[in-house]
């Protein structure tokens, strides 16, 4: 086993455990923190894949913004949300079966596609500049790029409308 594989395995175990604790811990703040650990694990995966930009963005957006948004949302709730009761619903095994089926399906798909075991092309040195060029290239992703902006604008308007208008009246 190479050092990379060991790092990968450790990260995988930590990420999965954190994800598991996210859904099983009764304390909502703890759940949010476990989720943050799981998200950090994903960032490590990106780093292992040499996807520097995505590793950093994963941390900036998911841990720096989304996780904090969640913590704020939790603190907005009243005490009732701090659930001390049973953490599983009566039909948890349905979810377990569905999860297992989904996992099997994904595994089968990955096996069936027969991905090349070695990279087919060398990783370009400045992939970020290429990404930037592709984003604004008329033959590339310029439409999704601008649509993303409009989408975010719509998201913000929607959020302000829902959260703020009701609050004011």
């Amino acid at each position: 086993m190479t050092a990379m594989q060991i790092v990968f395995l450790i990260t995988a175990v930590v990420t999965l455990f954190a994800a598991f604790r996210t859904v099983t811990t009764p304390n909502l703040i703890h759940a949010a923190l476990w989720l943050i650990l799981a998200l950090a694990g994903v960032a490590v995966f990106y780093a292992l894949l040499n996807a520097n930009f995505f590793a950093v963005i994963q941390v900036v957006v998911y841990i720096g913004a989304i996780a904090i948004l969640m913590v704020f949302a939790i603190m907005l709730t009243r005490r009732e949300m701090r659930d001390r009761g049973k953490q599983t619903s009566g039909r948890w095994w349905w979810a377990a079966i569905l999860g297992a089926v989904f996992f099997a399906g994904v595994t089968w798909m990955i096996e069936a596609v027969a991905l090349p075991s070695q990279p087919t092309a060398a990783v370009p040195a400045s992939s970020i500049a290429d990404l930037g060029k592709a984003l604004v290239n008329p033959n590339g992703y310029v439409i999704p790029f601008e649509v993303a902006s409009v989408l975010l604008l719509a998201a913000l308007i929607g959020a302000v409308f829902v959260a703020w208008t009701r609050h004011n009246s």
Binding site: A3, F53, V59, V60, G64
Partner: protein, 408 residues
């Protein structure tokens, strides 16, 4: 000559050969070298804090017409050591119902996040990482510092701490917006996110090309550290000591050290992004000179921060939020567009020509903004005549009880 021009490379090569001579593998040698480098840089940063604590107490003391530390050692220079010995032997109190593991992790996380920024700072020319996302990395690491504050506030099981933590986080995330937008300007001008690359691209310091972006970056960074005038997180009259109210002993000291280190790290980043980093006469021939230049520049930025701290009063929370969202953020957006459009039109210019045109436009935008702010302020004063006028008491004075005063 050899040792002077390439001391770091020389030492690194010597160590590498030494480790290889011991029969260690290539990979392990690299790991060991990196470990040594990391320990040296982190020690440098942490050791420097000891001096900063003395310096800041002395300077702020003088600014506030006090003497500052002057008992322990010459000019009180040994004061931080005395404080360190004292605080390290103090009890670390775990308050009732505190979430113990999180309570301990919080300061460590915050401190570690700030030290981690130093991993990507190009201290000397040529040596060091050419990390192609370094600029964003500094922001990403900051997310963990924010997290540390949330953890501290929540795990202390104290209302003041929790309120303070939330205020702090709201402030930190708000001011992160102008920070990242201002950071985009040097990235755009240099065409790279590598801090080493940004320094190398600064034939003309970016403070000439983008003085307003530097100002925004500096102000927003000071706010993110939470120093006066943005120190609402420790407004004593409202929330006592802030999110670290329950902390004592070394756990508190960790927050304290983190604060000073953060302030200097901000100066470091400001120097790297806008003041040419290690650039200076002879820096390329003698890399150690580059380190000294960088240190001086960072110290100047840091000193301005201390100066501001010693001078300005604290803002109110709504003022602080308005300043961020309604002033700094729109201005940062305008500057970004300016940098993008103007720099494209100046494609064939010499570095200095480009710099001067940018400077002129920046001055123009700055003048407009100041004129607008003046007009806004005047309008506000006209609408609310009771608000403070220069040289006048802010609220109408209550009638003086003259008769009682006489009978006394």
């Amino acid at each position: 000559m050899g040792l002077l021009s390439h001391p770091i490379t020389l030492v690194a090569d010597w160590l590498r050969n030494l480790f290889l001579g011991w029969g260690l593998s290539q990979g392990l040698t690299t790991v060991l070298l990196y470990l040594i480098a990391a320990i040296v840089v982190a020690s440098l940063a942490n050791g420097w804090v000891i001096f900063l604590i003395w310096f800041e107490r002395k300077i702020v003391g003088r600014m506030q017409d006090r003497i500052g530390p002057n008992r322990v050692g010459p000019y009180g220079l040994l004061q931080p050591f005395a404080d360190l010995i004292k605080i390290i032997t103090k009890e670390i109190i775990f308050p009732d119902k505190a979430d113990k593991p999180l309570y301990v992790i919080a300061p460590l996380l915050m401190d570690a996040a700030i030290i981690a920024i130093w991993a990507v700072i190009p201290l000397v020319p040529m040596v060091g990482m050419d990390f192609n996302v370094a600029a964003l990395y500094t922001i990403a690491v900051g997310a963990f510092a924010t997290l540390g504050i949330i953890l501290a506030g929540w795990s202390s099981n104290n209302k003041f701490a929790l309120v303070s933590a939330f205020r702090t986080v709201a402030q930190m995330i708000s001011y992160e917006v102008p920070t990242v937008l201002a950071l985009l300007v040097p990235v755009l001008l240099a065409g790279t996110m590598s801090l080493q690359g940004i320094v190398e691209a600064q034939h003309v310091w970016y403070i000439v090309l983008a003085p307003l972006a530097f100002l925004i970056y500096f102000i927003a960074s000071v706010a993110e550290v939470g120093r006066t005038p943005f120190d609402l997180l420790e407004a004593e009259s409202e929330i006592v000591a802030g999110f670290h109210i329950e902390y004592s002993g070394m756990l508190f000291a960790t927050f304290y050290v983190g604060d000073f280190l953060h302030a200097f790290t901000i100066g470091m980043l400001g120097a790297v992004l806008f003041l040419g980093g290690w650039r200076g006469p002879g820096a390329e021939a003698y890399p150690i000179l580059g380190l000294i230049y960088l240190w001086i520049k960072a110290f100047v930025v840091y000193f301005v921060g201390v100066w501001v701290r010693g001078t300005l009063p604290r803002l109110r929370i709504d003022q602080m939020m308005n300043f961020c969202w309604k002033f700094l953020t729109p201005l940062a957006l305008i500057l970004l567009v300016e940098a993008a459009v103007v720099d494209r039109l100046l494609l064939g210019f010499t570095p200095w020509g480009r710099g001067l045109v940018h400077l002129a436009i920046n001055v123009f935008i700055g003048a407009l903004v100041i004129a607008y702010a003046r007009a806004y302020d005047n309008r506000r004063k006209r609408e609310r005549p009771l608000a403070a006028k220069p040289g006048q008491y802010p609220v109408a004075r209550p009638p003086q009880p003259a008769a009682e005063a006489q009978s006394d």
